[in-house]
Symmetry: none
Subunit: 218 residues, 2 copies
């Protein structure tokens, strides 16, 4: 397991590093965001333990960079501020996990290991495609900058289609992913919902139909 520790408090950083090394991880340490970005560009880390309050380049920016660059690296945010709003914001930015200082060392290790087990990294928290911006955490959709109000189901359908990354998604799959198990298999809600979704998203069309296969967003 390859880990990068980014923490400006050198004493803490080194302590964490030695602790992780004792747990058989390969650990690099840097003390500011700039150095972090450098190392990330060069090396291929499994997990980055990232202090949020960094001098020069803020931890949030480092996190955004990692997530946005599509690397397989996972981010564990670390911060002094421990209230809920902070934690939620950290996760919203795109971190894979979040731990508040002071933390118990075994928990840090356990969370790093849990992240290391995940085969694939998180996608960017904001989905963008074909002039549509979807922010799941805010439950907000923008079409060419203008906000579009959607009902929960419409939003769920749009989210599934956006995550499909251009692939066609059948009505059955949409029903499977956006509805719970009580859904009637012979319903036509999906078609109706797709229609209202199309109407709200306006011109030019965003959701295309692929005859015989379902719907897709190019």
């Amino acid at each position: 397991m390859r880990v990068l520790v980014v923490e400006d408090e050198q004493v803490l950083a080194d302590a964490v590093a030695t602790g992780l090394r004792r747990d058989s991880m390969a650990v690099d340490v840097v003390y500011d965001g700039d150095a972090a970005l450098e190392r990330i560009a060069v090396n291929d880390y499994d997990v980055v333990v990232l202090d949020r309050d960094l001098p020069l380049v803020h931890g949030d920016d480092v996190c955004r960079h990692i997530v946005h660059s599509g690397l397989a690296t996972r981010v564990l945010m670390l911060t002094a501020a421990g209230d809920v709003a902070d934690r939620v914001e950290g996760l919203t930015i795109g971190a894979d996990d979040y731990l508040a200082k002071p933390f118990a060392f075994p928990e840090l290790i356990a969370r790093i290991r849990a992240l290391g087990r995940r085969a694939v990294p998180a996608l960017p928290p904001v989905l963008e495609r074909a002039g549509i911006r979807v922010d799941p955490s805010r439950r907000e959709v923008l079409r060419d900058g203008r906000q579009v109000p959607l009902s929960p189901k419409e939003f769920a359908v749009l989210e599934v289609l956006m995550r499909a990354d251009g692939a066609a998604v059948s009505s059955e799959q949409l029903l499977e992913k956006a509805w719970d198990e009580n859904a009637d298999p012979f319903t036509n809600v999906v078609r109706v919902t797709v229609m209202t979704l199309r109407r709200k998203l306006g011109e030019p069309p965003v959701v295309l139909t692929v005859p015989g296969a379902g719907y897709r967003i190019p």
Copy 2:
């Protein structure tokens, strides 16, 4: 996003479910481990929110089952006991995240979303051969870079021929692979479909006839 909530305290379980539904997630609820295992076997959840202290089948066992079965489903452990040892143990068992009760609801949502943000596992392979590019997931066909619109049947036939990797495929085999089981064995749809396919794909010919054996793409 498809979520299963497993929590024996029904009031809490339902509250969580409605909260998540308001956030556009498709939520199923069960109140014990047995039912959880059942649902997991049937449905394909993105995330399972799992109370650790369950009657009958313990949450840990459910978690182990999910991890062991190799599903892409992520587990978020939930528990009343909030000390570090518990959290570490939960993560060690194979949970992807861990949240101690009482928790703030926005944080639960943020963590579920973080878990659900995983990338689609495998990029579907694109079939390429003889100047033809077929992308099954997008239902898209390109001939020398130009897009060719195909009907579902035409697409199905082309896909079978492409996957045959140059080998000849008989009409009977095509009928078997691209049509459902109640197809008339004495039909000539295959011939007709191959014809329209050829016409749409244009010159030079892509689908060749192997007299007595069927069709093939060199």
